[in-house]
Amino acid sequence: MNAAALKFTKDHEWVRLEGDVAVMGISEHAQHELGDVVYVELPTVGDSISRGDALANVESVKAVSDVYAPVSGEIVAVNQELEDHPEQINKDAEGNGWIAKIKISDPAELDELMSVEEYRKMIS
C-alpha cells in the first residue's frame, strides 16, 4: 500500500481514490489506539450519506467508535470480510481492512482532506 496516495480526515479515516469511487477505512493510528477490533457494523450498499455522517462503527475491547463518512455519496460496496474477520482492521487497516466504497457526489470535498504528512503531523 502506497501510503502517499491516501488522504485522511481529522477523525482518523483514510480515503483512496479509484476513479470516482472513494475506498475508505480507519487509519493505522486509529486501529492502534482502539486495540483489538472485535466487531464491525457495516453500512448498507445503496445508502446515500453526507460527509460527517456516522457510517459504520468499530467495536474493540476498549470502546465502540463511530466511523464517519469522509466524503458524501452513495455506498457502492462494503467489506463483508470484516463481519467474520474484524481483525483484518488490526492487521492491515489501510489496505485489506477497508470498510466501504463510496461513489463520490462532490469531488470538491476531497480538497479538504489531509495529506499523509499533514495527518502525521496532527497525530504526533
Binding site: V38, A63, E87
Partner: protein
C-alpha cells in the same frame, strides 16, 4: 491462590441425587402434558448430592468481589455502598406481599409512599412532576426523549436531531436514537465543559434537544448550563439532563432551577438500592410543567384515598407494567427519610470531598488532562506511564481492590475514572492511594511484572479478544468417544 471450581457438569457422577423419592413424585404426567411434548429422559443434567451443590455455589460466591467485601471505585454512575437498614425495610411483608392488582383502597399506604417519594424528588431536583415508572436509568432516558418528542409533536413538529456532547454518558445517544432521533455528537471545550458558542453553532430549527450529563463524565460541573438552557429554549428546543451523577449535586443545586426540562434519576445507585447483578433498578423522570401532561400512567394522585390515574389524554402511553419497581422506591424513600435534608447534602459534599482527596493525592503521579475543578469523580490519563491503564487495573486486583472505570470517557487517552463515593473512610482512601503509588513504582522498576498481573486471582489475564470474537454462551456436552 484460589483454584477455580470445576463446573457442576464436571463434578457430576451418574446416580447421585439430592432427594430420593420412594416412587415417581409426578406419576401421571401424561394427564397434564401432551405426551408428544414430553421427552423420554432428561439429558445431560448434572447428578450431585445436595451438599455438593451447596458447596459449589457457596465457593463460587466467595470468588465475588463486591462493595460488601472491598473498595470498588468504579466511576461514571455511583456504585456506592448502601445502608442495610433500607434492605430490611424493603423486605417487610407489607411491601413484598402487596400484589399489584390489589384494589387501591387496600394499599393506600403503598400509594402514599410513592406520593411522598415523588414530592421529595421534586423538592430535591426542582422539577414540577415525576413519573416513577421507568425501570432503569436508560429506560428513564428513553421515556424523557419520548416526552420531548410528544410535546414537540403537539407544538407541530417533533424535529429530527438531538445533540449529545462527547462527555455524556454512553447511553444518551442510544436513548435518543431509540426515540426516533438522529444523534449529533458535539465537542466539549478545553475546560471539559460544553461551551455555549459550540451549542449555537449546531443549533437550528431541526434540533429537538440537548442531552447533557451534569456533572459530566469528567466529573466536571457544566457551568454554562443556564446559558445553554436559554439558547435552547429561544430556539424552541429542550434541555434533557442525565441525572445519573446527582450524587454530586443533591441538596446543593437543583436542575429545575437551572433550566432543565426533563431529567432522570437513578434510584438504584444514587438513592440506596445496591447496584449490580442486573437489577432491578428505577429511573424516575422529572419534568417541567409543560411536559407534565405527557407523563406515562399510572399517575399517582395528589390526594390521599384515591386510586392512580390511568386516563391521561396526551400521555406517551405506558412504559412499564403496574407501578414500576416498587421496592426500589421503598428503599429510596427510607434512604431520604433517614438522611433528611442536611444528611442528603452531606452525602454530596462527602462524595465530592473524597474524590478531590484522591485527585490531590494522585495528581503528583498521574496526568490530569483537564484542570477544571471536579466534583464526585476524577479522570486521569495514561500519559507518560510505562504500562497501560489496563495493566494498572489488573494489578489493582492483586491488592484486593476492584479497578476503577477504564478507557471511558473516550475523550481521555487511557482514561482512569475514579469515583470513591461518600461512604468510604479516609483509611480506605489512603489504602487505595498507597496501592496506586506502589503499582506505579513497580511499573517503573519492573514493567513486565505489572503487564503480567494479576497473580493472586483464580484466573490471570482473561482473553477478552477471543471472548468477544468467539463467545461461547452455553455449556455443551463433550463429544462422546
Amino acid at each position: 491462590m484460589n483454584a477455580l471450581p470445576e463446573l457442576l457438569f464436571d463434578k457430576s457422577r451418574p446416580g447421585k441425587t439430592g432427594y430420593s423419592f420412594e416412587s415417581d413424585p409426578i406419576p401421571e404426567t401424561e394427564q397434564y402434558v401432551d405426551p408428544e411434548l414430553q421427552r423420554a429422559g432428561i439429558a445431560d443434567f448434572p447428578s450431585l448430592s445436595e451438599v455438593e451443590i451447596v458447596r459449589h455455589y457457596t465457593n463460587l460466591s466467595h470468588l465475588n468481589h463486591s462493595v460488601d467485601s472491598g473498595f470498588y471505585p468504579l466511576g461514571s454512575c455511583t456504585m456506592k455502598y448502601n445502608p442495610k437498614v433500607n434492605e430490611t425495610i424493603a423486605a417487610m411483608p407489607s411491601f413484598t406481599n402487596a400484589h399489584p392488582y390489589t384494589p387501591h383502597h387496600l394499599v393506600q399506604g403503598n400509594i402514599g409512599i410513592m406520593r411522598d417519594l415523588e414530592a421529595r424528588l421534586c423538592a430535591i431536583t426542582g422539577m414540577k412532576a415525576f413519573s416513577l415508572s421507568p425501570a432503569a436509568g436508560a429506560h428513564g432516558e428513553l421515556t424523557g426523549m419520548m416526552l420531548i418528542r410528544n410535546c414537540l409533536s403537539h407544538r407541530g413538529n417533533p424535529r429530527r436531531i438531538v445533540l449529545v456532547p462527547d462527555s455524556a454518558h454512553g447511553t444518551n445517544p442510544a436513548s435518543a436514537h431509540f426515540a426516533g432521533y438522529n444523534v449529533k455528537e458535539i465537542p466539549s471545550g478545553p475546560d471539559g465543559v460544553l461551551e455555549p458558542h459550540t451549542l449555537r453553532e449546531h443549533l437550528d430549527k431541526d434540533v429537538a434537544a440537548l442531552m447533557l450529563t451534569n456533572p459530566n463524565t469528567l466529573g466536571i460541573f457544566e457551568r454554562h448550563i443556564c446559558e445553554l438552557a436559554t439558547a435552547l429554549h429561544e430556539n424552541g428546543s429542550m434541555l434533557y439532563m442525565d441525572g445519573a451523577n446527582m450524587n454530586a449535586l443533591m441538596g446543593i443545586a437543583r436542575p429545575g432551577d437551572l433550566g432543565v426540562d426533563v431529567l432522570h434519576l437513578n434510584l438504584h445507585k444514587t438513592f440506596a438500592t445496591p447496584h449490580g447483578g442486573g437489577g432491578p433498578g428505577s429511573g424516575p423522570v422529572g419534568v417541567a410543567d409543560h411536559l407534565a401532561p405527557f407523563l406515562p400512567p399510572p399517575v399517582i394522585p395528589k390526594q390521599d384515598g384515591s386510586g392512580p390515574r390511568y386516563h391521561i389524554p396526551d400521555t406517551i402511553g405506558r412504559i412499564k407494567n403496574f407501578y414500576g419497581n416498587f421496592l426500589v422506591m421503598v428503599r429510596a424513600l427510607a434512604y431520604l427519610m433517614s438522611l433528611g435534608r442536611s444528611g442528603l447534602r452531606n452525602v454530596a459534599e462527602d462524595a465530592v470531598l473524597n474524590a478531590n482527596y484522591i485527585r490531590c493525592r494522585l495528581s503528583e503521579l498521574l496526568d490530569l488532562p483537564y484542570q477544571s475543578r471536579t466534583l464526585h469523580e476524577v479522570v486521569f490519563s495514561d500519559k507518560g506511564l510505562p504500562v497501560s491503564t489496563l495493566d494498572i487495573a489488573k494489578r489493582l486486583l492483586d491488592y484486593g481492590i476492584h479497578p476503577f472505570t477504564i478507557y471511558f470517557p473516550l475523550i481521555v487517552h487511557g482514561a482512569m475514572m475514579i469515583e470513591p463515593t461518600e461512604t468510604e473512610s479516609l483509611e480506605t482512601l489512603d489504602l487505595f492511594v498507597t496501592a496506586m503509588k506502589e503499582i506505579l513504582t513497580e511499573a517503573e522498576s519492573d514493567a513486565d511484572m505489572v503487564r503480567n498481573a494479576p497473580y493472586n486471582t483464580p484466573l490471570r489475564r482473561l482473553d477478552e479478544v477471543q471472548a468477544a470474537r468467539h463467545p461461547v454462551l452455553r455449556w455443551q456436552p463433550r463429544e462422546q468417544e
